[in-house]
Amino acid sequence: EDQVTQSPEALRLQEGESSSLNCSYTVSGLRGLFWYRQDPGKGPEFLFTLYSAGEEKEKERLKATLTKKESFLHITAPKPEDSATYLCAVYDRGSTLGRLYFGRGTQLTVWP
């Protein structure tokens, strides 16, 4: 059973059309939830860390929020350069120290 599930798998938005990506997780004790951006042929690029329910982080057009069961990555007025795969990962209190569990990602395409 996947511990991290991301939806949708793919999302196409017109430039300026705001939306949200979802990351739901099942862990024994969340120690941290991480959002990454991955461009084709590159390694994941760190975006945000969230540690507790109710926490929010913002960076440019991106805003990440966290509840006890899921996280959302809100994209406001996206631009074509926001096109990428967005990955969510969790650090579980009960798992191997240092091990992150990743979702399969949401592939975002923003067209002009």
Partner: protein, 114 residues
């Protein structure tokens, strides 16, 4: 400052050959991680190092996989007797510490086994 670097960026090898993948972490990062990313799959955790020690090797897919880290810096992931199912992108990451710290990734090594 310099990020995580990996070499080679691409590796094509014949089935049955051994390969070595190298990772150079961010200076000062004590923790180092190896992941594998296959097409359409999420990142699969392989192993981590705290300093030169790898406390848990259970994520390695088989005994053909091994990893070492020397001097608390560079790490090498070795795959012996490669199989076609080993084809994937191998990603290395490093972090300041081991507990709930963000991990910074290198560009990866794309391994193709023919």
């Amino acid at each position: 400052g310099a990020g995580v670097s990996q070499s080679p960026s691409n590796k094509v090898t014949e089935k049955g050959k051994d390969v070595e993948l190298r990772c150079d972490p961010i200076s000062g990062h004590t923790a180092l991680y190896w992941y594998r990313q296959s097409l359409g799959q999420g990142l699969e955790f392989l192993i981590y190092f705290q300093g030169n020690s790898a406390p848990d090797k259970s994520g390695l897919p088989s005994d053909r996989f091994s990893a070492e880290r020397t001097g608390g810096s560079v790490s090498t992931l070795t795959i012996q007797r490669t199989q076609q199912e080993d084809s994937a992108v191998y990603l290395c990451a490093s972090s300041v510490g081991i507990t709930a710290h963000e991990q910074y990734f290198g560009p990866g090594t794309r391994l193709t086994v023919t």
